[in-house]
Amino acid sequence: MEKSEIETRVKKVIASVLGAKAEDIKPTSNFIFDLGADSKQSVELVAAFEEEFDIEMDQDQALGVQNVGDAVAFIANIVNR
């Protein structure tokens, strides 16, 4: 899957789960500091990514991902394995 497609779908999931505006979701955006994710939303995000991409992610590793760009890379790594 193309990285650009992954990025688009990741942003869509983030906007849906966190209620963030699309223009605020940038590759450098930190889930907590910039987008306001709390611990419950962070778990919901992981679940939503798994559903969106039909993948399974290691929970601890996934929750360690800090920003949008890293999430795209993390998911791309699993999807394109």
Binding site: I32, F33, L35, G36, D38, S39, Q41
Partner: protein, 706 residues
Amino acid sequence: MSAQQKKNIKQIFFPESIAVVGATRTKGTVPYDIFENILDGGFQGVVYPVSPGAHSIRGVKTYKYVLDIPDPVDLAVLVFPSSVCELAMDQIGQKGIKACIVISAGFREVGPAGVQRQARLQAVAQKYGISIIGPNCLGAINTDPGVRLNASFARKMPDQGSIAFLSQSGALCTAVLDYARGKHIGFSKFVSFGNKMDISEVDLMYYLAEDADTKVILIYLEEIRDGQALMKAAQDVIRSTGKPILAIKSGRTQAGASAAASHTGSLAGSDEVANAIFKQAGIERCSTIEDMFNKAMALAYQPRPKTNKVAIITNAGGPGVMAADAVCDCGLQLAQFSPETTELFKRALPATANIKNPVDVIGDARSDRYQAALSGALADPDVAGAMVILTPQSMTDIEDIALTVVKTRGSNFEKPVYTSFMGEADVAKGIDILLRARIPHYILPESMATSFATAYRFEQSLKVERRPAPVFKDVDRARAQKLLKAAEGKRHLPEAEATELLAAYGLPVLPYRVARTATEAAKAAEEIGFPVALKVYSPDIVHKMDVGGVKLNLNGAGAVKDAFENMMAALRKAQPEATILGLNVQKMAPAGRETILGLKRDPAFGPVIMFGLGGSFVEIFKDVSFRAAPLDAHDVSSMVREIRSFPILDGARGARKCDVAKLEECILRLAQLAVDCPQIQELDMNPVIVGEEGKGAFVADARVML
């Protein structure tokens, strides 16, 4: 201006505006509760929630970043998860905020990754000159009505009061606040300082010294990182302001003591040392939270007793006797009433009453008898303070008596009144009246006596004249350093070098020679003068006595030769791998009392000096005292006199007094050596023989561990 004063502590307690950085809308979470507590506590300034995911919290507009706040901000309260605290701190710095409470956990307390995270956070804070409380803390409270700051996750704002509480544990704070609320104990400031990344208990103590609302400072400590700074701060605060400091130090442990190689090391466990040094600094160490507040009430609510003479007023004989016993056990005395007071009691109390101290107003006493007894006792010139005991009997008007005590104390405010309304359910309303009126109440008469004694001792301690100890100019520091340098890499100094080291600091070592043969030993003994002692001289043998390496009181060359041959033969057999360089032939000390002087370098408090009655049984009797070096004149005098067996040195049972002045000089010289030579980890001078008054003291044996 001290380093402590430079920290922006005032902004933490007296902010006009606060940003809660990382606040959320999720009820029941720390970030939400902190924001809510600031609002509900009645904060008198402006609060800005910084919450990137929310539009408003509790009707207050939020800001995505702290940099978005249009107005200046005095204090940031950081509640983000630890992973983004560094990012938040950078913006706090850019915003120009100079004070921050970091509530967030996940730093030094969670291991190596947390240590690194904390170091990065600290670097950012230092870059912007931000003063920090925390991280990993409950927060801070200021009850001043002009501020009303509850920047913590404690449920309720405590009452206003004159006690400041500083705690390393956040969870304990909530329990303390709840305990205090039940007893109507108010606070001036309340701080949980957590990992003390920047602002420590030492900084806060200096701040509270200047805080007009604080009369008493309480501290709960789990770990002492810089014991010397803590000690100095306590001494500075107590001596300059007269504010008492009470502390609980948890984590008592014997670890470390068991591995010690000297008597001093073995006896100077971390808890014994902490006990002694708290005392030296003037800090009242408390064993429990209850003990701490019992004493704090006495010190904060009441004038301090000027003497140790107590009047006890009771309506029950048994508790009166118990209180009298406790008074005597605490070093207090029962006051002797004047004839006028006795006459007054005769007139005011029934014939069956006991009008001597303890005054028993009898079981059917109502408030009028308590009033007569208490006001009469407080007016007596020999009475420094009163203890009022009540047991709930069917005719006892408990609440009236409580009100009478309050009223009577009010008209005699120069003397303290303490109370013990014994029981629980029946006396509850009376206790409530007393505590609301700031009259200390204790469930047990023993606690009442202990608290009275604490207040009395504290008052006395303020009168102690503090003179610096003399600095001995005759010491040969260069010689000592040369000896220690030559021994680098070794675990201990051989006895000859150890003796020379002590001699360089003017310590009265006995003359000695090293002998390699029996003939040399006999010749050396004749030169030194009989009687002499022989001691093995070996870098491999520390405990000479244990291996038969000491022979005392040898008179005559023949005895010396025989002892030399026998000892060498026995040692070669018993210690075949030890390098034996010869035997020391040493002058025997004149008769005297055996004492021990020692030194141990404590990881928190630095060089600690030990004194006690010495000899082979020192570790059994454990009658020793400790002080941190450097010592002042009062320290040395008090450490010599506080051991139980001091009367033996002071001429007990008709014996002649020992040369305590020379002994004190030896302790001071040892303290100077300890400060000058950080290479020395442990040192024993055991025994130091103290002769009669004017006849000096002599170091008979020494052991120096590096």
